[in-house]
């Protein structure tokens, strides 16, 4: 696998898995309007994933976006560990979204200068979507954080639970190191300060406490995943695995 390909899987798988997670809310969100909002965001993310996975398949020289999405095993997925974490309550879904949106904002901002035209093109389109996603998720973080006692407690609990997965965003995997050296992608560490500032601004308004950084042992970007990803993939890949090449 070339650095360009595995880097595109890192970004593409992150969007794909988060889209699948958000899709689990369809029909279950607290209000019809939120149901649609989450589905809209999921579709944006799925679009990003399709773009990147089909290009990755081209680079691979065989297979298709569908093969990459539906026939890979968990250890071949390179998404951030954060996005495979379960939805939890609405607050936890929102916090996860907020942390990822802020990261994608910084990433797509920089990826527009990528030496890989496909990535630059995707980033230019995706940044507009991501600005809206961040507006949505940060708006909810403030509402819930600065809301009732219960909503504050729930969203702070979610933040405390998910914070440990954020560190992975800024530590380069081997694929990211190579991609950065080739000018394909920014050095992940270079996103940290701006991400942090963005997060702090919202947390302050939401009257939430930024959790302390903790030791980190999550390596989704290297294909080391929690059991949550296996279960997610079992559902996502079921159809294609059971009826390979099925058409309707």
């Amino acid at each position: 696998m070339t650095p360009a390909m595995s880097y595109q899987l890192t970004v593409g798988d992150t969007s794909l898995i988060l889209a699948q997670r958000l899709g689990e809310w369809i029909g279950h969100a607290p209000a019809l309007e939120e149901d649609l909002a989450l589905a809209n965001i999921a579709l944006d993310l799925l679009g990003q994933a399709r773009y990147l996975l089909s290009h990755a398949a081209q680079l691979q020289g065989s297979g298709s976006e569908d093969d990459l999405a539906f026939l890979r095993d968990p250890q071949d997925f390179l998404n951030l560990s954060l996005v495979e974490q379960p939805n939890g309550d609405f607050g936890q879904t929102i916090v996860r979204q907020f942390l990822v949106d802020a990261w994608q904002l910084e990433l797509f901002e920089r990826l527009q200068q990528s030496s890989e035209p496909k990535l630059a093109e995707l980033a230019a389109k995706a940044i507009k979507e991501t600005r809206y996603h961040f507006r949505f998720s940060s708006g909810w973080v403030v509402r819930l954080g600065d809301g009732t006692e219960e909503s504050h407690r729930r969203v702070q609990t979610a933040l405390d639970a998910l914070w440990r997965f954020t560190h992975e965003m800024f530590v380069a995997s081997p694929a990211e190191q190579e991609a950065a050296a080739l000018g394909i992608a920014p050095d992940p560490a270079s996103l940290a300060a701006d991400w942090s500032r963005r997060i702090d601004e919202v947390l302050k308004e939401a009257t939430l406490k930024r959790p302390a950084d903790v030791a980190y042992a999550w390596h989704g970007k290297r294909g080391q995943h929690s059991e949550h990803l296996s279960r997610l993939l079992a559902e996502m890949q079921f159809m294609q695995r059971t009826y390979p090449g099925a058409q309707w």
Binding site: A31, E33, L36, N40, F136, G139
Partner: protein, 97 residues
Amino acid sequence: MTQQRNQWPLYEVFIRARSGLEHKHVGSIHAADASMAIEHARDVYTRRQEGVSIWVVRSADIVASDPADADALFEPAKDKIYRHPTFYEIPDEVKNL
């Protein structure tokens, strides 16, 4: 309009389909406040490129005519067809009227 305590207030949504056209009423959504109403309107009513601009207004702030007054308000116009411009002949040179 009475407000149920367990529901967000209702907002009416108006969408401008293209620049130069007027905003048209498209439906309503629930939202906690005005900015959430805009986001909900965007998510519910502009998914298929229906618009370039959104207005929302609290349904409770709309003053409506009473359907019971319809006779008094609208009947008198019925027998005044001369108010329609159809009695005028339009010159061929005039386009797009």
